[in-house]
Symmetry: C2
């Protein structure tokens, strides 16, 4: 299930994020302002701007999956130098390509794996704890904050853009 | 795992939400304004205010768990009439009491259960799909939006307030 919760669902959310960035471009074009105004917008002076929210959403997916699978050094490096919407969309695409290179069986030992980060000073979480309490809440936080920045600035986004399509059955 | 993803983690997030509401009260007190200004704040004219974000976060937890367990009619009713911070915190407490009345074994058949809502016009999702693609993204959306409304209005909240404590091990 960790595969579905991360690779599959993170991919869906990153695609949704890419689509709301397209809506940002449409809004900027319609009102004749530079989309970089939106990319640099933030909800508070000391909160990250939209560019950084997208970068962190991508990193949460990339590094979260890499850690769960136990191959953290295999994640592609990104220098956090994106300044344009096209560059952000490329970052999302590269992240999607990376996380989708894994299969469900790569997560066989993920739940019990010891996950750590330099700033945790040697302490660890189990993979299950890391996924449920850290990676998953974090990616939703940054995608929602990106959405909120656009919503606050009048871009025509709604909850369905955030959630994406549901696999309804009859 | 659906129990951990919903009852346990939703409880953590609702407690975190209750704690950031306390921070809202502190901010209002410090700057001598009525906390109802924050409760009625929103990020866009056509987006829900903080009160409604809290109500929906609670309902997502309450109804999501009830649907997964297969006892949707057992969820406590709420009339959405809260106007004060104390009333919102009571709503959160009642929601916590309800979802914590379930145990892991109540979720034995949750993943395969057919979940529907009136507005889905007879269509359904499996419990697993409903949890991963609907309930979980929704609760994080509303907690993050509540957080963003407070952050935007200068309340001293940070990522740690959103995530809560991690069960680090040595």
């Amino acid at each position: 299930m960790l595969y579905d919760l991360t690779v599959v669902q993170f991919s869906k959310m990153l695609n949704n994020l890419s689509a709301i960035l397209d809506k940002a471009a449409v809004a900027a074009e319609a009102k004749k302002y530079d989309v970089s105004v939106l990319l640099n917008a933030r909800l508070a002076p000391d909160q990250f701007n939209l560019i950084r929210q997208v970068q962190i959403a991508c990193d949460t997916a990339k590094i979260g999956v890499a850690r769960l699978v136990g191959v953290v050094d295999s994640a592609p490096k990104h220098a956090d130098t994106e300044t344009t919407l096209d560059e952000l969309k490329t970052r999302i695409t590269e992240t999607l390509n990376y996380i989708n290179s894994f299969k469900a069986e790569d997560f066989a030992e993920a739940a019990d794996r010891h996950i750590s980060q330099p700033r945790w000073e040697g302490k660890y979480l189990t993979g299950l704890e890391f996924a449920i309490q850290h990676a998953i809440p974090n990616i939703y936080f940054h995608v929602t904050t990106a959405y909120a920045i656009l919503r606050h600035n009048g871009v025509d986004v709604g909850k369905k853009d955030y959630l994406g399509a549901m696999p309804y059955k009859v």
